[in-house]
Symmetry: C3
Subunit: 273 residues, 3 copies
């Protein structure tokens, strides 16, 4: 019952520290507020240790990394580990440049990550050391499909076993795996890919879900992924013919604002393998 996970977020209002890119940061803040949690952003090395200490969870997103913010990611990540806060890594553009790939690997090597969330090309890069990321979007050749699904489920579980992190691979079909179990999620709409930052938004939601559901982390991540996808479906149902990706962005966040456990339980489409 994933719906309980969302109710727990609304009950506990976790404060989430985000070190994230400046492209989609406003949407990340609004989506965290929409789910009933609170966002705070800080990426200055002298500030992040204290900020992360007053929070319940940390979201690290390398979408517009620079040398200063990389330092902040490391400091905040280590402090969060000390405090046993859940930490998520969103390796935006891993595979697109050496700096992004190496930063993601450096974070994985030095910080215990509760969740790694990316598109399939980014995750393949982390597993294989190279990938065919097309900028910040996944390469179609990499996609999770009905045909390669069993193989990809194994791939996700194996990577989870190796890293000790829950692995969330999002795309047309989403996978959320630990070493034992994998949620296969079929919520969402293809048009979400035409909005910048729906992945970043999800990476902001997940730490809130995990902080609010410490004893069922895998379910919490799956609930966040289903919430985002279902919001994409609900948001689309309110879209008028002349409206496009910009209004759709708002409709999705609006749908999360109104999401409750019952709606999620009725709308979530998943199986577990």
């Amino acid at each position: 019952m994933l719906g309980i996970c969302i109710e727990n977020v609304r009950k506990t209002c976790p404060l989430v520290h985000n070190i994230t890119n400046y492209v989609t940061v406003n949407d990340v803040a609004n989506v965290i507020l929409a789910i009933g949690a609170s966002p705070i952003m800080s990426d200055e090395p002298l500030d992040v240790e204290e900020i992360t200490s007053i929070c319940s969870a940390l979201n690290i997103n390398i979408g517009t990394l620079n040398q200063r913010t990389i330092e902040s990611m490391m400091i905040a990540g280590k402090k969060s580990n000390e405090l046993n806060h859940p930490v998520l890594l969103d390796p935006v553009g891993a595979g697109a440049s050496n700096l992004r790939t190496q930063t993601a690997i450096q974070i994985m090597d030095n910080i215990k990550l509760d969740v790694i969330r990316g598109n399939i090309s980014e995750i393949k890069t982390l597993v294989l050391g190279s990938g065919s990321t097309k900028g910040v979007d996944a390469d179609v050749a990499d996609a999770v499909t009905e045909e390669n699904l069993d193989h990809m489920v194994e791939f996700a579980k194996t990577f989870s076993k190796k890293t000790g992190s829950i692995i969330a691979i999002t795309g047309a079909i989403d996978l959320v795996a630990n070493s034992e179990q994998c949620y296969i999620i079929r919520n969402g709409r293809a048009e979400m890919g035409k909005i910048t930052g729906t992945g970043c938004q999800l990476s902001g939601l997940i730490p809130a879900f995990v902080a609010a559901n410490p004893n069922q982390k895998l379910e919490a991540v799956a609930a966040a992924v289903c919430t985002m996808g279902l919001a994409g479906e609900i948001g689309m149902s309110h879209l008028q013919e002349h409206e496009g990706n910009s209004t759709y962005r708002n409709r999705i966040i609006d749908a999360i604002y109104h999401m409750d456990g019952k709606t999620l339980d009725e709308g979530a489409k998943y199986e577990i393998r």
Copy 2:
């Protein structure tokens, strides 16, 4: 008559220099345009002195401060003081970290501030040297209520007397005080707290109002606060049932776009003590 203040903004179109956080900066720019003023953003030490010189007012917001932008805040603030431009400080997250608290105090100590605008936890931090800020949101234990109102009015006037700045404390009840008088404002909606940056937006509006009304600064700040709150009420009236915080954000800025002196005078809810 607060309405005149808004008409003066639309007549004089002041150019406002903003050194503000990257989370809500786009909304700050759009709300300044909505009220009929013009925004410019610059946070590079080598650039800010000239940029602030061509402006009429300065908005300093420490929401995502870093060492470079702190330096810029100091340079721009001093230059604005030289030129007698109104300067506002928004001490976002003061109390949440030492860097934020100390930066706010450093700015207060070195720059003559026309206005300090924050939530009650941030303002208490500046007065007492410590506070119970919950990240960037006020602690409920600190809230201005009908019960502690007389006390809080005195608190605001005393802080104004000490600093020489107009003090704007915003929350469910807003206070705008100089050492003699305090506007108690009851516009606004609780749901505004579910949008990131309504406080930052107000901090962008206030310098425009003060620059356009140099001989009635207290009224100008009160007018800006009433405008934001009233826009929150008007925006809510246009919200459909399925719409949430993301669309609400747009509706508020839209309402400011259409705000005029008459609407403000009819909708402003305040008393002066």
Copy 3:
């Protein structure tokens, strides 16, 4: 037939590297997605060479420049030149400060620019070494009008001849010139000036259009300018009475999302001199 240019963007999906300001970056990303291209943002010196290498075009916007990002602009620009990628410069605020003016000139002197797009005050600054920019907006005294149109067309052609760049001067009347020909474009709405970043958005669209139409660059830039203006007209037609600049911003991006060659060909209003 400008419509073909838009169809070529949708067919080829060019990846555009943007080094742009943090005020309007989210809208730039969404408008690039709306036209069917893909955005990527990176402004770290250690990252930009590789990122620009995987892209098809580069958009340099100095709206919130700092010393780090200026270095990145130079690195990315030179690499793009090596790879023969189209490069655009948006000299935001040139004339408003020495740093902005000198940075724009440094970029012009060291990087082969396919397109320079700015408002008339910014472009005059680049031509004359000084201008009367009002912050990031054009001075009305500088405006392109029906009265000075022949003169301004010559001005644009002469500047194009001197620089080897296509010159796009946008305002109430838009000019898009190479040394031989000038498109005079009368699409758009005055209200677009009340939204932050419509110019930045256009500067994100143009590199996508040029990358997708390498053999008809002048037409490609004109098509992008007409697309933005026409979207402003279509977006306005969907605006309700109580809606203002914030919703209008979304409506414009939505209109670009639905724009096709036929709509553009029917709605584009231009002449060539």
